[in-house]
Symmetry: C2
Subunit: 388 residues, 2 copies
């Protein structure tokens, strides 16, 4: 562990098949007006919406519905959510859905009492909230983003072709999250595997950086190994509770700040993927999958020792008699095989990206400097072309 850091994550998690039973207990801590945030309406079909509404009513809450949160929540939707919250003087934002709903709820929560324009303040100038933050709770129905136990929020601005994430501090983290693995059973396979790769990518972004010996990297390897193991079981049998529950728990711990503690982090796959997403509106996890292998093959020479370790520790590559490069290559090949066996999209062209978009996507890619290589724009373009 290098450097100085602080850690605090007070989100209360209720995990398991009976976890929704604890929603009522949590609701008692907050006022009457609850903004009920959800997405496209699938939760109305699978009974989760009715179950939540029932608990809200039993606890005497006024329900202010705020549905239609899109997979990539837009800045226009954010303004709408803030307006709803202000008009109804809401006491709690309850997100029932996946990371999109939870991200959106957090963005609204820090904007309700903010006099400034939230897009400008949080997603352009990256300032911290200075106003009162309305509490957020979450009932998770899709796994991947880790939004249920962190301060992260990603908002898309289609006019400016930008998809930008802000990691808010501990005060903006959900006060509670309800994690019921069975709520994720009805998700289509494409969304399940997309979420699985999102989790994997979160871990990689924090793992592929730094030259020190760091407990965080060992924990990252553990999460990757558990995720890989359970993902293959869930692919064959989506209703395997053990596998789905391990995936859900791994997702939460992959991105609640723990495995980034005491180390530098990369996040360039997300920068590339989010730029692709801003142009194509493609599923987040798929954009990450499609740029990952070209990106990692590109940076491998600059962080070879970590790619060797990744191959040995995560993929069980036998290093005997092999060069470091051969070991590292074998690790990335095993990663590619796993991605193929999950059925992930490995080309951005299949996600709607066209040759003429590449220059624009490269311009929309934020260049970060925490990884093994600070990319030039030419390198970004090269990686995007190799991702086509």
């Amino acid at each position: 562990m290098l450097g100085n850091f602080s850690y605090c994550n007070a989100t209360k998690l209720y995990f398991g098949q009976d976890s929704l039973n604890y929603l009522g207990e949590e609701l008692k801590k907050y006022g009457k007006n609850v903004q009920l945030i959800y997405g496209g309406g699938s939760i109305k079909k699978n009974g989760i919406f009715d179950a939540v509404v029932d608990i809200l009513k039993k606890n005497g809450k006024n329900i202010i519905e705020d549905g239609g949160v899109m997979p990539n929540p837009t800045v226009e939707k954010l303004y709408e959510g803030v307006k709803i919250a202000r008009e109804n003087n809401v006491d709690l934002l309850l997100a029932v859905g996946g990371g999109s709903c939870c991200d959106y709820a957090k963005a609204v929560s820090v904007s309700i009492h903010c006099d400034d324009d939230p897009w400008q303040k949080y997603f352009v100038r990256f300032e911290e909230p200075t106003c009162k933050i309305v509490p957020v709770g979450c009932v998770l129905t899709m796994v991947g983003t880790g939004s249920e136990m962190n301060g992260g929020s990603v908002i898309t601005n289609h006019k400016e072709k930008l998809k930008v994430g802000h990691a808010f501090g501990e005060d903006a983290m959900p006060k509670f999250s309800i994690l019921n693995p069975t709520f994720t059973y009805s998700l289509p396979e494409r969304q399940m595997v997309s979420g699985i790769y999102d989790i994997f990518s979160h871990i990689c972004e924090q793992y592929f950086s730094g030259n020190d010996d760091n407990t965080s990297d060992y924990i990252a390897e553990a999460l990757m190994k558990s995720l890989i193991h359970s993902s293959l079981i869930a692919k064959r049998n989506p209703q395997n509770y053990e596998a789905r529950s391990n995936i859900m728990w791994t997702a939460t711990w992959a991105l609640n700040t723990l495995i980034a503690k005491g180390k530098t982090t990369d996040w360039m796959v997300h920068m590339l993927g989010q730029a692709v997403g801003a142009y194509t509106d493609a599923t987040h996890g798929m954009t990450l999958a499609a740029v990952s292998l070209p990106y990692y093959r590109h940076i491998m020479p600059y962080g070879l020792h970590k790619f060797v370790r990744f191959a040995k520790e995560v993929w069980g590559v036998n290093p005997d008699g092999k060069t470091d490069k051969a070991i590292a290559d074998e690790g990335l090949l095993k990663l590619e095989n796993w991605m193929n066996s999950l059925g992930l999209v490995l080309r951005i062209s299949e996600l709607g990206a066209t040759e003429d978009m590449i220059e624009g996507i490269a311009d929309a890619t934020f260049i970060l400097d925490g990884g093994y290589k600070v990319l030039s724009k030419d390198e970004v373009i090269q990686i995007l072309k190799e991702s086509m």
Copy 2:
């Protein structure tokens, strides 16, 4: 992950060489009267005491000194601490020391406003606090117990020859803990390695249980691997910051409830070790070390698959052409070699235990049922004899 559980741990951690700089910021959140808890006075020699007192004074606090906390805090000391706290109407209990000071502070914190006898209520009847809990903060100077980020507290009753732990809930966890790895540099080697084994044992207690596939076990393996790696570096060079910081961080995450989530746990090494401790007053980590190998060799046949996994994943045992028992044996042999290279005590006779104590130690051993084998009293006696 099996079953239902909740997770909440709101302790704020400040980690690193400059972490004491944040004490002042935390102190501002609490009232004027601070009970300053410490042990035998070593912190008065290494300058930590003066540094803390200086920060307390700068923040206008009344300091109520409560020193002399012994390695195994006694029930008499607990009564004394409660009396001091009541007489001085304390607003914060600040433990500066190792797990003993922090355990003691937590026991005091739940007893100040408790009308009942705290030994009877918490350590005999294992009831939860129903009174107001006075906040606890911690400046850690010794690593091992994980007390800095959990609700655990172990109190010894010499008259009744009992050393009993109670894991209080999230409300009794420290509000903040300051973790500066350099504060552990001056610790004698015997205490350092004793703490290292305490950490390792905490992980094993949560690992050697259950037959499911569980993310928690993968994280446990990661913590063990990081700890083993760093322990050997710290043994050679106690002032290696990287190693000492990884050990410190591993200790915290080994026992803050995370790696027990969704699974059963064992804790019999602690039950045996604590009973030995109640009879000998020996250092906690050494009592655990001295009973571990006989205990694990005894239960290995009942949880063979986990011991095979332990050998392969934690110790890198090559399984090719070997029986499961041979693989598991090799894992325990590697554990024994590591314990020897740290210089741990592997016999309770070297800790002051005598043949005529064995019956009494066995009687003082709580039998728990979460591990691979529920021990009979005869088995406890057999393990203790093999530990002599």
